[in-house]
Symmetry: C2
Subunit: 423 residues, 2 copies
C-alpha cells in the first residue's frame, strides 16, 4: 500500500502506566516530527481514550524538542492515562461513532494506541469500524504492560524496568534481613504486582545468583498455594541460611481460586480487609513458626521506578514508538510492532510485527518450564529469558539530589465539535 | 594523652542496618590498616555485640583490599548486626565482665561501636567499666541511624540515603497517580519508617518543589493526627490537583497516643491486625470520601536501597569510620565523631566530636519550625536543612543488570576462652 496523504495523528496512553511508556511517546513524537510530509501534528488524548471521546486533545507540537526528549527519562503517562475499555461495537456504537467524528473533525488519519491486551483490542476495533463508517484510519498498537503478558512479542516494554526494580529490591532487602536474622527479623515478604501472570515475581528470582541468596521462595499466581509445603520450605530456609526472603505475587491463590489476599480477612465491621497478600503470608509464618517478620508492598513504586529503569527496556520502549510511526507511514494497518529475540548467544533483538487481532485479549502466562519443580522458584531457562531484559542502567538526570522528570505544557487543541460527549 | 601501644581493635554494627553502615566499616578498616603501628588487627563482632559476648569474632585482616573497598557500596551489615541492648552494670554485671574478658583474651584495646543512641550508651558504659575492671579500653562511637534522631551531630549517616529513597519514590509514585487520577486511583499513601521522629517522612516533602506536586500531605509522629482536618485536606487536594499523594510515618498517632496502625483493627479471630498504617489511612479516605486508592509500605526496601544512596551520605558514613580510628589513635576516648554543618551559603561540613555521655539515649525530634503551620508538610527551613543530605548519586557497580554487593568471607578468630557465655 502506498503512503497516505498527510494527516494528523492521535496518540493515547492506556491502562496502568509504566516507567517507560513515555519513552514510547518520545520515540513516536520524535519520529513523527521527522516525517512531516506524512504526518501533520501529533495530538495526544488527555487521559487516554477519554480525551478522544470528549474531544480533549493535546497539541504536542507546542512542546519543545527538549521536553519531548525528556519523556525518554520520565516515568508514568505524560498525557494522562485511563482505565476505560470501549464496549463492543454492538453494545455501544455511539462511542465508536464519536471517535470517528472527532478524528474526522481534526483530520486525524493515524491512531496510535499505547497499552496492553485490552487496548490492542480497541485499536483493532477502531480500525475495522473506521472502514465501515467510511473514514479509514491507520491503527497501530504500541505494546505496554508491566505484566509482560502480551502474546507474540518476546517481551513487553515496561516489564524490564519493573523486573529490575524487583530484583534489585529483594537483593537489597535480603542483605538487610541476613544482617538482622540472628537476633531479630528472620522472614521478609515482599509483595509485587501481577494478578494473573507471575512474570514480575519471577524477576525477583534473578537476585538469587548463588546458593542461599535471597529470594529463597517465590509464590506465583500460576501455582496453587500449598500452605503446608510453603511453611515447610520457610522453616528449612531459616534453619539452613538463617533467614528466608520471599517474593509473593499479589495474585497468589489457593487451589479453589480464592486469593490469599482475600482469604478470611474481614474486619470487625464486617468489611473485607484492605488488600495486601504480603501481611497475610507474613502472619501465616508467624502463627505457624513464630519467626519475627517484616513485609513490604511496593505497589506503584515498582512500576514508576524510572530511577532504576532497565536500559534495555528504555531502548525497546523508544523503538516501539518509533516503529509504530514507520509502520503507519509504510501503510501498515491493524498491527503492533513486537520485540523479536534473535537466536544468538549474546542477547540481540529486532523489531517484528503482529496483527492486532492476534494480540487482542490474549494473556501470556509463565510457561511451567520457567518455574522450578517445587513450584517456588525459577529455572535456569527462566533466568536466561529474563536476565537480558533488566540489563543496563538508564539513569535520569538529577538536580539537587532529585531526578528531573518533565511535566509537559499539555496545551489543548481548540474544540471544533458542538456536541459534547458524556462518558 | 599520648598514643597507646599497639593493640587489636573490635568493631561491631548495632541495631537496624542502613544503606551505608558498611561504608563506615570500610572507612574504619581501611584507616586502621594504614595505622598498623597503633592498631593490630580489626576484629568484627559476628552479629554485633553478641559476637563479643560469645567470643565469635571475625578476622577482617583475612579480607582482601578489594572486598573491603566494596563495603563502601554494599548495603546492610556485612558482619551481622543485632538488636541486643546491654543492661545496666548493676543489672547484669556478668555481661560487662565477659566483654572485658574477651577483649583481654584477644588483646583488644579499641572498641568501636557503630549504632544509634542505645549503642552510644553501651559504648560509654564499656569505657567506664573497663577502667573500673583494670583493663582500660578506648571506646569510640560511630553514628548510624536511618531515623536521624541522634543529638549534637547535624545529621546521621544512614539517614541521607533513606531520605533520598523516600523523596525519589514519592516523586515517581506521584507522577504515576497523576496519570491515572482521571478515571482510576486518586489517592496514594506511602508509609515510611520513623516511629518517634518524623525526619524520614519529612524527606518525602523534598519531592514537592512546585505547587501541586507530590506529596501533598505528610503525616508526622510529632503531630497528633486529626482525622477531620486530614480528610478535609485530602479532599481539597483531589479537587484542586486531581489527586492526593500522602507520606505517612509509621509512628503517626492520635492525640491520646494510640498509633493509627493499631487503632480499631482486630480481625475476626480477635487478633490484632498486622501493622501497616498506610492501609489504615487509605481505607479511612475511601470510607469517608469514596476515592479509589493505592498504598505502599516500603519497609526494609527504604533503608537497604543502596542503589539510590545519597553521595553525601556515603561520604559522611565513610568519614565517620575513618575519624573514629583517628580519634582513637589520638588518644580520645568515650567520644563519637559528629557531622558539623558549616555556616556557609553552599553546603559544607566538617567533622566534630561529642561525648558519648551527651549522645546516649537522647532522641532528636523534628523541631516544630520544620513542620508547616497546618502540621501536614515541611517548611522552607526544613527543606534547606534536608536538601544537602540527599545530594549526589553514588551508584554501585552493576553486572548483568544487578548491583554487585560484596559478601565477605567472615573467617572466625580462633576462640581462646574455655568458658562459654549464654545470651
Amino acid at each position: 500500500m502506498a503512503s497516505k496523504i498527510k494527516q494528523n495523528a492521535f496518540y493515547a496512553q492506556s491502562g496502568g502506566v509504566t516507567a517507560v511508556i513515555n519513552a514510547s511517546a518520545c520515540g513516536l513524537i520524535e519520529t513523527a516530527r521527522q516525517h512531516k510530509k506524512h504526518i501533520g501534528k501529533v495530538y495526544a488524548g488527555r487521559n487516554g481514550i477519554i480525551g478522544a471521546l470528549t474531544e480533549d486533545l493535546i497539541d504536542t507540537s507546542k512542546e519543545s524538542k527538549k521536553d519531548i526528549a525528556a519523556l525518554k527519562h520520565t516515568p508514568a503517562g505524560a498525557f494522562g492515562s485511563c482505565r476505560y475499555k470501549l464496549k463492543s461495537f454492538e453494545e455501544n456504537q455511539a462511542e465508536y461513532e464519536r471517535l470517528i467524528e472527532v478524528f474526522k473533525a481534526h483530520d486525524i488519519g493515524y491512531f496510535f494506541y499505547n497499552g496492553g491486551g485490552d487496548s490492542m483490542d480497541t485499536a483493532n476495533k477502531v480500525s475495522q469500524i473506521s472502514q465501515k463508517l467510511g473514514f479509514p484510519i491507520t491503527c497501530i498498537g504500541i505494546p505496554k504492560t508491566v505484566d509482560n503478558d502480551l502474546p507474540i512479542t518476546d517481551n513487553c516494554p515496561g516489564f524490564g524496568s519493573v523486573a529490575k526494580y524487583v530484583a534489585v529490591s529483594i537483593r537489597e532487602a535480603g542483605f538487610d534481613v541476613a544482617s538482622m536474622a540472628e537476633s531479630s527479623t528472620k522472614v521478609f515478604v515482599m509483595e509485587v504486582m501481577g494478578r494473573h501472570a507471575g512474570w514480575i515475581a519471577a524477576a525477583g528470582g534473578l537476585a538469587a545468583e548463588n546458593e542461599g541468596e535471597a529470594p529463597h521462595i517465590i509464590l506465583f499466581p500460576e501455582i496453587a498455594f500449598n500452605k503446608e509445603k510453603f511453611l515447610k520450605k520457610v522453616n528449612q530456609c531459616v534453619k539452613k541460611y538463617g533467614y528466608c526472603a520471599i517474593v509473593v505475587s499479589e495474585g497468589v491463590a489457593y487451589k479453589d481460586g480464592t486469593f490469599l489476599a482475600d482469604a478470611g480477612s474481614v474486619d470487625n465491621f464486617g468489611h473485607k480487609q484492605l488488600g495486601g497478600v504480603a501481611p497475610v503470608v507474613a502472619k501465616m509464618v508467624k502463627d505457624a513458626l513464630g519467626y519475627k517478620y517484616h513485609w513490604a508492598v511496593a505497589d506503584y513504586l515498582q512500576r514508576a521506578a524510572r530511577h532504576i529503569a532497565s536500559e534495555t527496556d528504555v531502548e525497546q520502549a523508544y523503538a516501539m514508538g518509533k516503529a509504530a510511526v514507520e509502520y503507519a507511514i509504510a501503510g501498515k494497518n491493524a498491527v503492533m510492532p513486537t520485540i523479536v529475540r534473535k537466536n544468538t548467544k549474546t542477547y540481540k533483538w529486532s523489531i517484528g510485527e503482529a496483527n492486532l487481532s492476534d494480540v487482542a485479549n490474549v494473556e501470556k502466562m509463565m510457561p511451567r518450564k520457567y518455574i522450578s519443580s517445587n513450584g517456588m522458584h525459577i529455572t535456569q531457562a527462566c533466568s536466561d529469558y529474563l536476565l537480558p531484559l533488566i540489563k543496563g542502567e538508564s539513569y535520569p538526570p538529577y538536580k539537587n539530589g532529585l531526578p528531573q522528570y518533565v511535566v509537559l505544557k499539555n496545551e489543548p487543541v481548540k474544540k471544533i465539535l458542538k456536541k459534547k460527549f458524556v462518558i
